[in-house]
Amino acid sequence: MTVDQPAPGTGGAEVPPIPWFGPTLHELVPGCVPGARLPALRAQAGRARAAARQDPDRLERIGRADRNSRATVTALVAEILTPPLPRPDTEELP
């Protein structure tokens, strides 16, 4: 059940922002592997941003992923929010 209230974003009511859930640097930046240390992550993100200067959309996504991975905790959260990534597989199938 919903109760009457002004439409979202109208009437002066403050609408909380939608938090970020990806895509993560691990998805966006090749070679950015889970578990990487923060300085390495920063450097990779910086290089990726520089390479994406001609692609504003990708630049924005990388920037947002970078901003959300700058602390150890948020970087781990970003890892947790990373879906399956292609990876080399040497395991033998059961």
Partner: protein
């Protein structure tokens, strides 16, 4: 179970192998492989019964299909296929992929705030991954990053992500305008506590039953939010009742919330509000324990008084004490305090608002039947009204016999009460006698004498024998006849004749003056009828035999004229027999025949109109 292979020649394949291969491919993002494997599984082993979720293969298959559907953007199918229990039987990596997809789906395009199925999937899966972690999600992370995550870091990240998901659901709730009872955030919090969300039972009204939401809110310190939302849904708190279908589901929880709020309000010395809360809680089924009883007593003692103890609001105090008394009817002290307050208010408005004053005293007596002051207050009102009647004024309230008699028991010297009762029984005696209820009339006379100024209300009234009682009754009737009045003169005259006729009936032949007064009244009525009514009305009066022929020449002449007048009318109407009969009657009266009775006997002649029965006269 065998049925082909996974692509490796000469190797038997089982359903288990196919699902292993599909999950393995999924967590390595080899999605193009997953669908053919599942198709082969289905072709070989059939589609697992989606309701048979006890089967590990069914769970694994369902999660894989849900994840594929979600990846393709088909969220209705993903929601439909996703199981909400035994998720640990599925590959954690696939569950995780579906969980991440659900969050991203909800967060896209400024929030999918009405996609309740997706929200339910996100809630169920993330609670599964981050709470008990039966699928060992941490091991998956360790495998992906090649090193274990330190405990402290894991806990921090876990808390951070839980909070971020909470923020997402809250933002979506705000956008959709959901109250806390319907909020996805509440369902998310309830899922952590009790695995409350069932994917098969969700709907747009909420991801969890409203009672579960209420319990969750109450148990986690959101009492005010719960009560605010519930009040917004049901603004009229007077209708909150455990018996109401609208409230049954949450009655005990809301009652508990109100009782807790009431306790807080008692602590804050908000006495009226606390008592109102306790009252509503009781209506919702709350049984007051010792702590609540103590709080009610404390609120009752203080309600309507200011914090300094000097200020005083009698109406607030009475309302509060009424509530406290209703909550604790066995608490004599509260009852006495309520009665005292009612009496105080009754005294305060005794002259300015007599009705309120009387109601306060009456209520005080109901609460405390032996309250002397309340009784005195009511007696004072009755005395005032009795005095008004003695002075010929209207009483403020209708006076009735019982309370006046009771007043006399307490105050035998109250002259206005005796006077009122005397008049009351006199009126009753006259009315009963007029109706022919002579025995009742005599009884009323006895009562009247009992309450007369010198009578003893409690003694037997031996001072009057039957004849004396009748004399009193005749006197009452005679007196009433003298003052008989009505809106129109004819009714007044008829009433007078009736009363005097009754008096003569009671008195027999012993009261000459009464007889003479009756004669005068009959004559007066006859002459009034002659002037204002039809001849038949005069004749009808004559035939009542109240005044014999020969007693009053004026009366006889009036009746004779009436017969002659009616004879003319009958002749004009062609009723010659009737006219002849009327002329015969007139002739008899004119001849001074003494007795109306003759007119009722057989008339001479064979004409049917000469038949002098009473009917023939009209």
């Amino acid at each position: 179970m065998q049925g082909g292979n996974t692509g490796e020649p000469n190797r038997p394949v089982t359903a288990h192998h196919l699902l292993d291969a599909a999950e393995h491919a999924y967590v390595r993002a080899e999605f193009s492989v997953v669908r053919p494997l599942l198709q082969r599984f289905q072709d070989t082993f059939g589609t697992p019964d989606p309701d048979d979720l006890d089967s590990p293969d069914a769970i694994r298959y369902a999660v894989l299909r849900a994840a594929l559907a979600a990846r393709a953007g088909n969220w209705p199918e993903a929601v439909r296929r996703c199981p909400d229990s035994d998720l640990d039987l599925a590959e954690t990596g696939v569950v995780h992929a579906l969980a991440v997809g659900a969050l991203r789906r909800l967060a896209e395009e400024d929030g999918r705030d009405t996609e309740f199925g997706t929200a339910a999937v996100a809630i169920v899966l993330w609670a599964h991954l981050l709470d008990d972690d039966p699928g060992d999600f941490r091991a998956l992370l360790t495998e992906r990053r090649g090193a274990p995550v330190p405990d402290e870091l894991w806990e921090d990240a876990r808390r951070h992500l839980l909070g971020r998901i909470t923020d997402l659901l809250d933002a979506l709730d705000v956008r959709a305008g959901r109250d806390v009872l319907a909020a996805w955030k509440t369902a998310w919090e309830a899922e952590h506590a009790t695995l409350a969300v069932g994917l098969s039972s969700i709907g747009p009204d909420g991801l969890i039953p409203v009672s579960t939401a209420a319990r969750q809110l109450l148990a986690h310190g959101h009492r005010q939010a719960l009560l605010d939302a519930y009040t917004a849904r049901h603004p009229d708190t007077a209708t909150w009742s455990a018996d109401s279908p609208d409230h049954r589901a949450c009655a005990d929880l809301i009652a508990q919330a109100l009782a807790e709020q009431a306790q807080d309000r008692v602590r804050a010395q908000e006495w009226s509000e606390a008592l109102a809360d306790f009252t509503t809680a009781a209506r919702l089924g709350l049984t007051l324990g010792a702590v609540e009883r103590e709080a009610v007593v404390r609120a009752g003692k203080n309600v309507g008084r200011s914090r300094t103890g000097r200020g005083y609001s009698p109406i607030t105090r009475i309302q509060g004490l009424e509530q406290a008394h209703t909550l604790l009817p066995d608490d004599d002290a509260l009852g006495a305090e309520l009665a005292a307050e009612l009496v105080r208010q009754g005294r305060k408005v005794f002259d300015s608002d007599p009705r309120q004053s009387r109601n306060r005293f009456t209520r005080a007596l109901l609460v405390s039947p032996r309250d002397h002051d309340a009784r005195t207050g009511l007696d004072d009102h009755l005395r005032a009204d009795l005095r008004r009647t003695v002075d010929g004024k209207q009483p403020r309230e209708t006076i009735s016999e019982g309370p006046v008699r009771e007043l006399l028991l307490r105050d035998p010297e109250c002259a206005p009460a005796r006077r009122w009762l005397g008049d009351h029984y006199a009126e009753r005696a006259v009315a009963a006698a007029s109706d022919g209820r002579t025995a009742a009339a005599r009884c009323a006379v006895r009562d009247m004498l009992r309450y007369s100024d010198n009578g003893d209300p409690y003694g037997e009234h031996d001072a009057y024998d039957e004849e004396g009682i009748d004399d009193e009754l005749v006197a009452l009737l005679f007196h009433a006849a003298l003052f008989a009045e009505a809106e129109d003169p004819r009714t007044g005259l008829e009433r007078r004749v009736d009363l005097l006729s009754t008096a003569v009936g009671v008195a027999g032949q012993t009261h000459g003056p009464v007889r003479e007064e009756l004669d005068r009244a009959v004559l007066g009525l006859a002459e009034h009828l002659e002037a204002t009514a039809s001849p038949s009305d005069v004749i009808e009066l004559f035939l009542r035999d109240l005044l014999r022929t020969g007693v009053s020449a004026r009366f006889d002449r009036t009746v004779e004229t009436a017969y002659l007048h009616r004879a003319e009318i009958r002749e004009e109407e062609g009723d010659f027999g009737g006219a002849r009969h009327d002329r015969a009657c007139a002739a008899r009266i004119g001849a001074g025949l003494p007795d109306q009775g003759l007119l009722f006997g057989p008339a001479p002649g064979g004409d049917s109109h000469d038949d002098s029965g009473q009917g023939a006269l009209f």
